[in-house]
């Protein structure tokens, strides 16, 4: 039979356990808004009973550990979706930048009151061919010649400006890839170091729940940059592989990512140890590479083809013409593609050198100007039998389609993330109402245990008083 002191002891242990329950509840309440936090629970069990002649006598309660409620499957899914969202966000941002630089925004602020896109290359090309048309009505007119060359110069400037800005975006993407690689390596180091602390904590019998929360947060941050697979180890560590190559094994960082130039000037990603190229399918690095080598590259090449076809076709007509001074053979456009197209400086500075006539010394002859004007409506073989304007419109709408696809996928991915986060919050998150109820329970239990101690104390008092009375 347990002595009164034994019962007193049991009451004291119970007080301690209730107090610890309060502490865990307090910790849960404090982290109610921490999305990476998983609700903690105090694991308690009945302490080892004393065997006696009347059977096993209870000795109260003991703490067996602090655990957290985590669903590893949900965590993996959330990491995967974070990679998808990261990739799409990187694509969206950069493609929308390119869209803004194209300057094909519809507005209705122009005098005509008809909504149109007045600032981009579409309007510039139309103005140029219209100016060639206008020149045919009075081919020797110097001001019409100036209008035509200026309109062409506007087209050339728009080409080079947009081309330069697209190159800037691509350079920016290469820098982002470098930065993201550094972030990923940093995260891998953090994960390995957290693995080490978790393994140590568990070996010494301690609780590692806060460390696991931190590691989960780091894994989710890494997922936003590069997609990976994990495998949980028995000792509590998590191994991380990117592109099939193990980067974190237990407590060690075994490999890392590095950006390399495959000779194109556009950075790709490989592993540090064996320089094996890694194809990422998610995370911002993958998004940056997809945007750069996909929609942006085809936009850039579309503009280059358009510019080079414009240069070739205009020059082949123009160079056979004669200017007002009887000179011939000059090119109208210089340069080879969108990055360097420009109007020949001679004709820019001297409109009389515009070769509009097909006969030397024939000021009123507009054959060349008319051929240039008609070029605007001609199907160009080098542009898949589209006109210059319709080819450009196609390029713009292709970019629009790319962005609109990314937009749709991104909002789907965000919805999935939201759903998964809600599921995890409902499983692992803290419920204020639940914790409040727990607090009352623990408080009542604490009061009851205290009552037990008071009662045992009074009984002990009675025992002591038995001798004096």
């Amino acid at each position: 039979m347990i002595s009164l002191f034994g019962t007193l002891d049991m009451g004291a242990r119970s007080l301690g356990v209730q107090q610890e329950e309060m502490t865990v509840s307090g910790q849960n309440l404090a982290n109610v808004n921490n999305s990476a936090y998983a609700e903690e629970q105090l694991e308690v069990s009945e302490s080892t009973p004393d065997e006696s002649s009347i059977g096993d006598e209870g000795t109260g309660v003991q703490i067996t550990g602090i655990t957290e409620i985590r669903d590893p499957f949900l965590d993996t899914q959330i990491q995967g979706e974070a990679s998808t969202t990261g990739s799409l966000t990187a694509q969206q941002t950069n493609l929308q930048n390119a869209e803004a630089y194209l300057d094909e925004q519809i507005s209705s602020t122009t005098s005509s009151n008809t909504p149109d896109s007045a600032n981009g290359l579409a309007a510039d090309l139309s103005s140029m061919f219209a100016a060639f048309q206008g020149l045919t009505t009075d081919p020797s007119n110097l001001s019409l010649r100036t209008t035509a060359t200026n309109a062409a110069q506007t087209v050339a400037t728009q080409f080079t400006t947009v081309s330069g800005q697209l190159t800037n975006i691509q350079n920016g993407l290469n820098t982002s890839i470098k930065n993201d690689v550094a972030t990923a390596n940093q995260d891998l180091t953090t994960i390995a170091s957290l693995n080490q602390q978790i393994v140590e904590a568990q070996n010494s019998g301690g609780s590692a729940v806060q460390l696991v929360d931190q590691r989960e947060q780091t894994l989710e941050s890494l997922a936003g940059v590069a997609n990976f697979t994990t495998s949980a180890q028995a000792n509590g560590a998590v191994n991380v592989s990117i592109g099939g190559i193990t980067m974190v094994s237990g407590i060690n960082v075994t490999d890392g990512l590095q950006a390399y130039d495959p000779g194109t000037g556009n950075l790709m990603v490989e592993d540090t140890n064996s320089s094996a190229p890694i194809t990422l399918t998610g995370g911002s690095i993958a998004g940056e590479i997809t945007a750069r080598d996909g929609a942006l590259a085809s936009l850039q090449s579309g503009l280059n083809t358009l510019a080079s076809q414009l240069i070739t076709n205009v020059n082949s007509i123009y160079s056979t013409g004669y200017d007002l001074n009887g000179n011939t053979g000059q090119d109208f456009f210089t340069g080879t593609d969108a990055s360097n197209i420009a109007v020949n400086s001679t004709v820019l500075s001297d409109p009389s050198s515009f070769q509009a006539s097909s006969e030397a010394g024939d000021a009123g002859n507009d054959s060349i100007a008319l051929s240039l004007a008609k070029l605007g409506n001609q199907a160009i073989a080098g542009l898949g039998n589209q006109t210059f304007s319709s080819n450009y419109a196609q390029t713009v709408s292709d970019l629009g389609t790319s962005i609109s696809t990314v937009n749709d996928n991104l909002s789907a991915s965000q919805a999935v993330s939201q759903m998964l986060t809600t599921q995890r919050a409902n499983t692992s998150g803290v419920s204020l109402d639940g914790e409040m109820t727990n607090l009352i329970e623990y408080q009542k239990a604490y009061e009851a245990s205290a009552e037990l101690i008071t009662t045992v104390n009074e009984m002990l008092q009675t025992v002591v008083n038995m001798k004096t009375s």
């Binding site: 999305s35 009123g364 002859n365 004007a373 709408s397 629009g400 609109s404 692992s428 009352i440």
Partner: protein, 320 residues
Amino acid sequence: MRVSTNSFTNNFLYEIGNLESQQTTLQSEVGTGLKLTEPEDDPSAMNQVLNLQTEASSTAQYQSNIAQIQTTATTASDALNSLQTLVEQAGEIATEAGNSDTSSTQLSTYAATVGNLISEAMGIANTQDSNNNYIFAGTNTGTAPFTATTDSNGNVTSVTYNGNTSVASSEIASGLTVSAQSPGENNSGSGPGGVFADSRAGADVFAHLIALQQDLTTAAANGNTSADTTAITADHTNLTKDEDNVVTQISTNAVLQSTLETASNVAQQQATTFTSQLSNDTNADLATTLTQLQQTQTAYQASLQSGAMVMQLSLMTFLS
């Protein structure tokens, strides 16, 4: 089902975020009156808009070309009508002078009148349009197309043509080119008809006027012999060919003007069609958009109200 405190606020924020973004989109549609502003909004509509815009710009340029050519065509028409009157007058003189009764004095007066007509014809031949281009010079528009040689008495003895036989044309609709210019002289037997001289019509206004003047002068000096009468009658026959040629030119000009008129009307109609198509592709349907905005606002308000109510409630409210 267990619902954690965090998941409620997360969902709440996600939902009102969606409503807010929907509201912003609709509000901006109402504000700008446009449902399409960026290529990503509707790529295929954007494609169509850019193509329509190009068409509209071409059409506007065609209209401007038409207006320019119309001005020149009107100038040419006036000049041609004056020329016809002039040739007709010369023909009447030849008819009257080709009569054996005509006195020498009268013949001298006729000769002087024809001399004036030649000067007048020179003026018409060197007509310039509003851009100071000579309209009867072919494409050699910068040089006066006709220069006259005079004798010691100031009479024109010959007229030289400095222009050429080609004309510059402009597009007034896709693939349709016209020209308001005419060569002053075309004796090549092909190409656009010459106004003053054309070998196909046997026309040569200046040569025939000069011949008439010289024949009249000779007749006045000779006392109007039968040979003179024959020569003057022959001049009359030639002038009739000239007049026929000018009439042909006038009717060509009339056809051109009516072509321009038609093209102008077509361009006008096209411009209207492009405008309404552009508007269909880009303008928001205000009634629908406003209704949608109203719906979204109602949902937003309801969401905020219910969210605020639910968030305030927790077990703590009732524990004391």
